[in-house]
Amino acid sequence: MANKISDETIDYVGILAKLELSAKEKEDAKADMEKMLDYIDTLNELDTSGIEPMSHVFPVNNVFREDVVTNGNQMKDTLANAPQRSGDSFKVPKTIG
């Protein structure tokens, strides 16, 4: 079974992935994804009806704790990594018109 990725699909995936692809990157991505999906489709040979999807191999439970700050105020260190800042805030392009 050969998968075919349309231009619309690759554009949609680009939006989901927040990636801007050049025309060539788009064509490469389509070819790569078609090849991978053809391969992934071999999973359809397996009968998995009645099998529960397993997200973790061990039982995972929520771990609750009191909401108490233990690491102190790290504002200065955290902001030191900001690509752009304005005073004590991260600076981003205008988001609301």
Partner: protein, 497 residues
Amino acid sequence: MDILGLSAVELGKKIKAKEISVTDATKAVLAQTASVEPHINSYVTIDEKGALAQAEEIQKKIDNGELVGPLAGVPAAVKDNMCIKGQLTTCGSKILSNFKPTYTAEAVLNLQKAGAVLIGKTNMDEFAMGSTTETSYYGPTMNPHNMRHVPGGSSGGSCAAVAAQECYYSLGSDTGGSIRQPSSFCGVVGMKPTYGTVSRYGLVAYGSSLDQIGPVTKNVTDCAAVLQTIASYDSKDSTSVKREDYDFMRALTEDVRGLRIGIPKDYFTEGLDREVADAIYAAAKVLKEQGAVVETFDLSLVQYAIPAYYVIASAEASSNLERFDGVKYGYRTAEYEGLHNMYKKTRSEGFGAEVKRRIMLGSFVLSSGYYDAYYLKALRTKALIKAAFDKAFESYDIILAPAAPTTAPELGKSLSDPMKMYLSDIYTVSVNLAGLPGISIPVGRAKNGLPIGMQMIGNSFQEKTLLRAAYTYECATGGCYEQPAHIPAADLAGKEA
């Protein structure tokens, strides 16, 4: 004295006995990095000044009896996807080229508490996505045993650094074989512990349900010592497991009598290099001579592990890597129009081709309309693979397998055909899907001089069984680690890589 030729535990003993100072050992390692790095490129960052300062401080703590563990004063390296406070942590990516974490990963903190001298951060495939360390933004790492070949990946820098004696041991991370495969290619010992054994707090996430930090060492004793040091229950990692027993060094006994070892017939089929197969059968014979019961069996489902793995790992990666958006840390594109354009341009410029490929695949398999067919199908396959292992472990204590189908490929030969590169993970990815512990130990060399590794897979929480079998093999054969023929660096100085 050949300081660099010592193992980590041997060096620790000599430091304790005051035969070697921590500073001398650190200087020896730094001198080695200075001459080897232009040819091998194991490190993204070498913290020379910091290492010497740590050495002095640790020496004081050893002298006053504060630090008494086997690794106190021993120089080590950490894969560049583990956070160290204030130290560049790049994940091999442009997008984190300027990122200095505000905290230290729990596993690294455990090393620091044990008196490790941290030399620097090792090179890796970008965000641990790759099998050759060639997708790093900081250039490829070369295999110390033959510099025209890759060291494997994604923990290629960690493994090459240990092999080339640029540190005594290192930490790697393993999502689909990223410790075991490069260990096999570089002739060192590498272990992926049972999922949940080592805290993932401060490990930059790739596939969270698969990622696990583990040791890369020269021998099995060091492997046990490092595992014992880094393993801990950590409330900051919600998947951390509280284990009853962390005393892994007690497993270092020469005894495999009655140990049941199964070799999956379906691993020894076409695609596996003849020399690799022969080396593993020879190693199995050694264990048999020591009293183990060795049989072949059908594991089943082997061909479905890779497609299931790439769906799950890519899905988790697409979600985990959403945080890299140019707002709070890391690279931000120079020119943009509005927020969304800034996100897109930042990520498109900041990520390399392999990372983009996996983010796209992951976004696709999680998108509505495809989620059931791909993502849930892969999770169901994972359940079947886990069940196949459960069944195998009813009959066997250890599953013996190759770590990779071949020895290390030549540089520049893998990235043009990603599918082929993915297929080389066939013996390692299922271990991550099932959360099991696995170890790779050197068992010989191919005619081309490159090391061959053997993988042993244990049931959940049975690291001690693996360590005991690996130690017995090592004792019976007179040791695993061999210094690369072209190292020490004196042979290299002045030559072009």
